[in-house]
C-alpha cells in the first residue's frame, strides 16, 4: 500500500471517529460489490485503526485465491459475491402501529415461545414506549461487569478501545487463511461481540444477547472473540431464539475462543434463523467457522448448540486441545425439516498430553431434509494419553429424509483411546400410540420423544435457554408427522 493511501485512510479514520460512530453509520451504506476499495471504505466508515484494515486486505487477497468448498453434503445455487452489499447501515424495520398488524403466523409462533408482549413488539418492529429500553439495560449490565474488569462490548468498540487485545488474539485461532468463508469474513466482517475475562475472574452472569440486539442488523458477517485469561470462567449465550426474518441470505460468521491456563469457556447457541418456506425458498445459508483453543493447561471449552433454523447449515465448532490436561466438549442437536440441509459436527484436535474430548451429537431429520454429522478426531504424536468419546445418534421422522454420519479419525499416538458409537432410530408408531393413549396428541407426543432424545444435550444448556430450546424444537417439527 502506498503512503498516500495510508495517510488518506488515517485521515478518514480520524475524521469518522471525530464525528462519532453511531450517527455516522446511520447515514452510510456501501453499494454492492467486493473489491479493495469497498473494504477500505468499510473500514473507514467504521473508523478502524490501520492494523485492522491491513488485516482485512490481507484476508481479502487470500480469499481471491480460494474457491468455494463443495465437500459438505449440502447443495445450493451459486452465490454471487459481487451482488452483495458488504455494509449497510442498520435498517429500520417497517413500523407497525400495533401487534394486530403483525403476520398472524409470526404471532402464533411468538405465543408458543412465550415471548412477552413488549418483547414481541420489539422484535416485530412495533413502536415501543419507554417501558422496554434495551440500551439502558445494556448499560447497567456493563457497568456491573466492568467493576470486575470484564470487557464485554461490540467488536467495533473493542477494535477502538482495546486494540492490543484484538491485535494479539484476532485470527490466532481462526487465521484469515483458514477457509473460504472465514477469509471472506475476515475481509468484510461488520461487527460482533468481544469478551475478555481477566485472570481469576468468574463471570457472575451468563453473557447473552442484551446489548447485541443493537447490532442485530449487522449480523451477516459477524465476528466474535472471547478470551478467558488464566483461571477465568465465562458462559456465553449466542443467538436470538425469536423467529426473526432476515433478508440477508448468506451468513458467514467467525467465532474464536481462547482459554488460557485453568480457564473455562462455555459457549451455547440456539439458532433458529429462517429456514425458508416449505419448498426451501428464501432461507438463510449459515456458513460459520467456530473454533476454540484450549491454550493453557487444565483449560476447558464446551460448545453446546441447538440448530433448528437456516436453509443450509455448515458448521463445525471445534476445539484445539493444546494445553496438557485440557478438555474439549461438543454437544449438538441439529434439526432439519422440509428441505433444510445441515452439515455439522466438530473437530477435536488433541495436541497436549492427557487431553480429553467428548462429542455428543443428535441429528433429527424430518420432511425431505438432509442431516449430516461430520466429525474429526485427531491425536498428534506428542499427545500422550488422549481420550475421546463420540456418540452420534440420528433420529428419522418419516421416510423421505436422510441422515449421514462421517467420522474421521487420525491417531498418531498409540496411547490414545478413542470410542465412537453411532445409532440411527425412528420414532415408533407404538411410542406415539402409547402417548396418544395417555391423552397426548401426536404432535405433542413427538415433541416429548424428541426432547427426551435430546436430553443429554439440553442438560448442558443454561436453564432458561433449555426451556426455549425445547419449545423451539417442537415448533420446528410441527406438521412433520401424521
Amino acid at each position: 500500500m502506498s503512503s498516500t493511501e495510508v495517510s488518506t485512510i488515517e485521515e478518514l479514520a480520524n475524521k469518522e471517529y471525530k464525528f462519532g460512530f453511531v450517527t455516522d453509520i446511520e447515514a452510510e451504506s456501501l453499494p454492492i460489490g467486493l473489491n479493495e476499495e469497498t473494504i477500505k471504505k468499510l473500514s473507514s466508515i467504521k473508523g478502524e485503526p490501520e492494523f485492522m484494515l491491513e488485516w482485512r486486505l490481507k484476508a481479502y487477497r487470500h480469499w481471491l485465491t480460494l474457491t468455494e468448498p463443495h465437500w459438505a453434503n449440502v447443495h445450493y445455487p451459486k452465490i454471487n459475491y459481487q451482488a452483495i452489499s458488504y455494509y449497510s447501515a442498520p435498517k429500520k424495520k417497517p413500523q407497525l402501529n400495533s401487534l394486530d398488524e403483525l403476520d398472524p403466523e409470526l404471532r402464533k409462533t411468538f405465543e408458543k415461545l412465550g415471548i412477552s408482549l413488549d418483547e414481541q413488539k420489539r422484535l416485530s418492529g412495533v413502536a415501543v414506549d419507554a417501558v422496554f429500553d434495551s440500551v439502558s439495560v445494556a448499560t447497567t449490565f456493563r457497568e456491573k461487569l466492568s467493576e470486575l474488569g470484564i470487557i464485554f462490548c461490540s467488536f467495533s468498540e473493542a477494535v477502538k478501545n482495546h486494540p492490543d487485545l484484538v491485535k494479539k488474539y484476532l485470527g490466532s485461532v481462526v487465521p484469515h487463511t483458514d477457509n473460504f468463508f472465514a477469509s471472506l469474513n475476515s475481509a468484510v466482517f461488520s461487527d460482533g461481540s468481544f469478551v475478555y475475562i481477566p485472570k481469576g475472574v468468574r463471570c457472575p452472569m451468563e453473557l447473552s444477547t442484551y446489548f447485541r440486539m443493537n447490532a442485530a442488523n449487522t449480523g451477516q458477517f459477524e465476528r466474535t472473540l472471547i478470551i478467558a485469561d488464566e483461571g477465568a470462567y465465562v458462559s456465553y449465550l449466542e443467538g436470538c431464539t425469536a423467529p426473526q426474518r432476515d433478508e440477508n441470505q448468506l451468513h458467514a460468521a467467525v467465532v474464536e475462543l481462547i482459554a488460557l491456563d485453568n480457564a473455562q469457556i462455555k459457549y451455547s447457541t440456539v439458532q433458529n434463523w429462517y429456514a425458508g418456506d416449505k419448498d426451501g425458498k428464501g432461507g438463510i445459508y449459515n456458513f460459520v467457522t467456530k473454533r476454540g483453543a484450549c491454550r493453557g493447561v487444565n483449560s476447558k471449552i464446551s460448545w453446546t448448540q441447538v440448530e433448528t433454523g437456516s436453509a443450509i447449515t455448515w458448521k463445525y465448532p471445534s476445539c484445539i486441545l493444546q494445553g496438557d490436561n485440557s478438555i474439549g466438549e461438543f454437544y449438538s442437536v441439529a434439526v432439519t425439516n422440509n428441505l433444510q440441509q445441515a452439515d455439522t459436527g466438530t473437530k477435536m484436535i488433541h495436541l497436549g498430553r492427557n487431553t480429553r474430548s467428548t462429542i455428543i451429537s443428535k441429528g433429527i431429520s424430518a420432511g425431505r431434509s438432509n442431516n449430516s454429522y461430520r466429525g474429526q478426531v485427531k491425536v498428534a504424536r506428542r499427545a500422550e494419553n488422549a481420550r475421546n468419546f463420540s456418540q452420534c445418534d440420528s433420529l428419522l421422522l418419516g421416510d423421505k429424509c436422510g441422515a449421514h454420519t462421517f467420522p474421521y479419525l487420525e491417531i498418531n499416538n498409540p496411547s490414545a483411546q478413542v470410542e465412537h458409537e453411532a445409532t440411527t432410530s425412528k420414532i415408533g408408531e407404538d411410542q406415539i400410540f402409547y402417548l396418544n393413549q395417555r391423552g397426548i396428541s401426536t404432535e405433542d407426543a413427538i415433541g416429548l420423544i424428541v426432547n427426551g432424545y435430546c436430553k443429554e444435550v439440553f442438560k448442558e444448556l443454561p436453564m432458561e435457554f433449555a426451556v426455549e430450546a425445547q419449545k423451539l424444537l417442537s415448533i420446528s417439527l410441527e406438521g412433520s408427522v401424521g
Binding site: L435, Q437, G439, D444, Y453
Partner: protein
C-alpha cells in the same frame, strides 16, 4: 358406560373379531378370558384406537358417544385407559414428565386448569405407594430398563394418576410373581369406585382370585362364547380351555 355391538375387526386383511357384544356399566368389573390368539388384545387395542385395527362392522358407545369416531387421545381424555400388555419404552422421557403432560391434557379437555406442580408432586407420591413403586422410577425414562414387573406396576400407577372412567387391563398379571400380583391387584381394587369400571383381560384365572369380577366372558376365535359370574372363571380353571373348544364345535 360401554356398549359394544356386533363389533367386527380386521388386522392385515384377516378378520380377528367376529361380532363382539358386551355391555359394561359403572361400578362393574368384567373379566375377559380366553386362550392365546383368541383376540383379547385386539379388542383392547381397538377400543383404545390403534389404527391397524380396522373396524369393518358394528359400533362401540362410550357414555353415549361413538367411541370409534374419536382419535385415540380424545378417547383417553374421555376417560378410557389401556394398561398395555407390552408397555412401551420411551428413552429420555421421564415418568413424571409423561404423567404431568397427560394429566394436564386430560384436565384441559375437561375445562380444568393445569395442575399446580407442588400439588402434582405430592399426588403422584401418594399414588406410587398404591402399587409400592420406588420413587426413583419417577425420574427415570418411561419403562426403559424397568423389570417386567415394574413395567406392569407402572401401568397401574399411571392409571391411578389419570383416574380413568373405564380401565382396560391387558394381561397385567402376566410375568408377575405372586407378590407383585397381589400388589397390582390391591392397587386396582383400591382404585375401584361406583363410578368407574374395569375390564380385566387375562389368560389365567389366577388374577381373579384377587380382583373379583362381577362378570366373566370367554373370548374364543373372535367371539364371546360364554358369559357368566365369577364361578365361570373357576370352572375354566378346572376344565381348561379345551372344555370351551369342545363345547363350541361350530366356531
Amino acid at each position: 358406560m360401554l356398549e359394544i355391538k356386533n363389533l367386527h375387526v380386521k388386522v392385515e386383511g384377516k378378520e380377528i373379531l367376529k361380532g363382539i357384544n358386551l355391555t359394561v356399566n359403572a361400578g362393574e368389573v368384567h373379566a375377559i378370558m380366553g386362550p392365546n390368539g383368541s383376540g383379547k388384545s385386539t379388542l383392547a387395542q381397538t377400543l383404545a384406537g390403534k389404527t391397524e385395527y380396522e373396524v369393518t362392522n358394528g359400533e362401540a358407545l362410550f357414555e353415549g358417544k361413538n367411541l370409534l369416531d374419536l382419535s385415540p387421545e380424545v378417547r383417553a381424555r374421555e376417560g378410557v385407559f389401556l394398561a398395555f400388555q407390552y408397555p412401551i419404552e420411551l428413552p429420555g422421557v421421564s415418568n413424571t414428565n409423561l404423567l404431568k403432560t397427560a394429566l394436564n391434557e386430560i384436565r384441559k379437555y375437561r375445562g380444568l386448569e393445569a395442575i399446580d406442580t407442588m400439588e402434582f408432586l405430592s399426588m403422584i407420591k401418594s399414588k406410587m405407594k398404591l402399587v409400592e413403586l420406588e420413587q426413583s422410577l419417577l425420574s427415570r425414562a418411561v419403562n426403559e430398563g424397568f423389570s417386567g414387573g415394574e413395567k406392569k406396576r407402572n401401568e397401574i400407577f399411571q392409571m391411578a394418576v389419570l383416574e380413568p372412567k373405564l380401565a382396560i387391563l391387558d394381561e397385567t398379571d402376566s410375568g408377575l410373581d405372586i407378590d407383585a400380583l397381589r400388589i397390582v391387584a390391591n392397587g386396582v381394587n383400591k382404585l375401584k369406585t361406583k363410578d368407574n369400571a374395569t375390564i380385566v383381560v387375562t389368560h389365567y384365572q389366577r388374577l381373579l382370585d384377587y380382583i373379583i369380577p362381577d362378570f366373566v366372558h370367554v373370548l374364543y376365535k373372535g367371539k364371546i362364547v360364554m358369559s357368566g359370574g365369577k364361578e365361570l372363571a373357576l370352572e375354566l380353571e378346572d376344565k381348561g380351555y379345551d372344555w370351551v373348544k369342545e363345547d363350541i364345535p361350530q366356531v
